[in-house]
């Protein structure tokens, strides 16, 4: 195979700048010592990071987002594991339709889901509650959880399970001691990818969150709609750093290329 020529490398360099520039500018502006948006030409300052502490609503929203991500991805995985085993191992009537239904949140615009949940939860009296947020997030992150568990389930050698059964293990024991350990990498990375997607979700959540249950991205979005200042850049910087750490963990755990190739094709 030929190597990349100089023209290709220049293109690549411009591309990397394009991809990283918006993230970099946010991180740089966050360190400004001035009271307005500017580059920290007089040296970096942590004043805007300290200022976050004066806005407890950002911290509250951050904790709400963490809880929401942890809870909803746990529920999604609990639903995805049996569903994935059914889809991976059995040929049954409606198998394709069921898979399509589980993957459908990828195709339905989140704004439509947000409206549908707002309408539905208002009727049920769940609008603005944390329960409502968890339920709605379970739906939108289910495709991510299912896809990774499914990929892991296709790969197991069923003879290992048969061996366990022939040695007298009952169904639950086989699942707990044999099947689950085998699909564990898929389960863990599915959980993580689902949690990240829940944590980042803004379009749907903006419809159903109340001031008391607002998540971090929604709080940031509403803040930016009013004004853009170094404070919001500092909050975003914390988020970017956190994500970078997660990305590193995910790469080590599962391999990013494996995680994302085919992403969005459901």
């Amino acid at each position: 195979m030929r190597r990349n020529g100089p023209l290709a490398l220049v293109f690549h360099l411009l591309f990397v700048v394009f991809m990283l520039a918006p993230l970099a500018i946010v991180c740089i502006v966050a360190f400004t010592p001035e009271g307005y948006l500017s580059l920290p030409t007089r040296g970096p300052s942590l004043r805007w990071f300290k200022a976050i502490l004066g806005y407890p609503e950002f911290l509250r929203a951050f904790y709400a987002s963490l809880w929401l991500a942890a809870l909803s991805s746990t529920v999604a995985i609990a639903l995805a594991v049996p569903a994935a085993l059914a889809i991976a191992r059995y040929r049954f009537a409606g198998r394709e339709a069921i898979t399509a239904l589980f993957m459908s949140p990828l195709m339905v615009p989140h704004v439509v889901l947000g409206i549908a949940f707002l309408r539905f939860f208002t009727q049920l009296g769940l609008s603005g509650t944390f329960t409502g947020l968890v339920l709605s997030h379970v739906i939108v992150i289910m495709p991510f959880a299912l896809r990774l568990v499914l990929a892991a389930s296709y790969g197991i050698d069923r003879r290992i399970e048969h061996a366990a059964i022939s040695l007298g293990a009952d169904t639950m024991t086989v699942f707990r001691r044999v099947t689950l350990p085998l699909i564990l990498p898929g389960v863990v990375s599915g959980w993580l990818l689902a949690a990240i997607n829940s944590f980042d979700e803004v379009t749907m959540t903006v419809f159903i969150a109340s001031p008391a249950t607002t998540t971090l991205p929604v709080r940031m979005f509403l803040y930016i709609q009013d004004n853009i200042d170094p404070l919001i850049a500092a909050v975003s910087t914390c988020l970017i750093v956190l994500t970078a750490g997660l990305l590193f963990a995910l790469d080590r755990l599962y391999g990013l290329d494996r995680l994302f190739v085919g992403s969005g094709k459901g």
């Binding site: 195979m1 030929r2 990349n4 290709a8 690549h12 591309f15 394009f18 991809m19 918006p22 993230l23 500018i25 946010v26 948006l37 995805a80 049996p82 569903a83 085993l85 059914a86 889809i87 191992r89 059995y90 049954f92 198998r95 069921i98 239904l101 589980f102 195709m107 339905v108 989140h110 704004v111 439509v112 889901l113 409206i115 549908a116 309408r119 539905f120 009727q123 339920l135 379970v138 739906i139 289910m142 990240i196 803004v202 379009t203 419809f207 971090l216 940031m220 979005f221 930016i224 709609q225 853009i228 850049a233 988020l239 970017i240 990013l256 290329d257 190739v261 085919g262 969005g264 094709k265």
Partner: protein
């Protein structure tokens, strides 16, 4: 006998919990929203559960809605074209890199995907403002005299969305590049083909399905994007998603908002399913 029957039911029992949740939380709410779009609404009477085509007639006849949907479509098309023009060559370059470099560069491609879209759009708002770095750079280079207007324009929205959705295009193209046999390229070279001919006659035809599936994903996500158009486009430059948001949370005309949302959903599903069919028929041999 009973053992066989229970074995046959096993997949349904396994899928049942998820299925129940999805029926209750996807099918029913979407059905209720579709129904809502036929309800009546008034400033003082609120939502009246009758059956009326009022909202649909309003969307079909009022040129404001036509303008918003046309803008949504135009933005989605431009974003798709931009991600193809940048993403396809970049995926090809990535594919030819040494593995160690490639995995670092994949982080650059995938990383932004995991950062909240709000943070990424904030970055573009900072870059594209009238005193932002992009304008300052262009002025310093002497390319323009006065700052260009990016904020609150379609150009700004397209730039931000192209950045947000670029990873989807690259991943789709990259997946199809990996199935490519490098020997074919070498064969073409040994027969004396130049790089442009190789690109056009050998590589491109083989990765077209990847480009098209990437294009469908990018188009669908661009047409339904909310946060980036809301931040960069501001309150005046409405797209379908921000229009529905306005009807729901500002005007409080839920039936009209529901009709806008349903139209967006139906149009998108039609476009996605239609183009999937077309691609599968046209490129059936490539997919096999």
């Amino acid at each position: 006998m009973s053992l066989v029957a229970s074995e046959r039911n096993t997949p349904y029992w396994l899928a049942a919990p998820g299925l129940l949740v999805f029926l209750g939380l996807v099918i029913i709410p979407l059905g209720m929203t579709a129904l809502l779009s036929f309800y009546d609404w008034g400033q003082y009477k609120g939502i009246v559960p009758t059956f009326t085509l009022k909202n649909w007639v309003e969307i079909a006849t009022d040129s404001y809605f036509f303008e918003v949907f046309l803008r949504t479509f135009r933005i989605a098309v431009l974003v798709t074209v931009a991600t193809i023009l940048i993403g396809v060559p970049e995926a090809y370059i990535l594919n030819r890199m040494a593995p160690a470099w490639r995995s670092i560069c994949m982080l650059v491609v995938i990383g932004p995907l995991l950062v909240s879209v709000v943070a990424r759009t904030l970055g573009w708002a900072l870059l594209l403002g009238s005193t932002g770095l992009v304008n300052q750079g262009l002025i310093a280079l002497g390319l323009i005299g006065a700052p260009l207007e990016f904020m609150f324009t379609e150009t700004g929205v397209v730039i931000a969305l192209a950045h947000v959705l670029m990873p989807f295009m690259i991943l789709a193209v990259w997946a199809s590049l990996q199935r490519l046999d490098p020997q074919i390229e070498n064969a073409a070279m040994s027969l004396g083909a130049g790089w442009w001919t190789i690109w056009r006659r050998v590589i491109l035809p083989q990765i077209v399905p990847g480009i098209l599936s990437g294009a469908i994903i990018v188009f669908a996500l661009a047409a339904s994007a909310f946060a980036s158009p809301a931040i960069i486009g501001g309150r005046r430059l409405k797209v379908a998603a921000t229009l529905a948001y306005d009807e729901f949370l500002n005007t409080l005309n839920w039936p009209l908002g529901a009709a806008v949302a349903m139209l967006l959903l139906v149009a998108l599903v039609a476009i996605i399913v239609g183009s999937n069919r077309l691609i599968e028929r046209r490129y059936a041999q490539v997919f096999e």
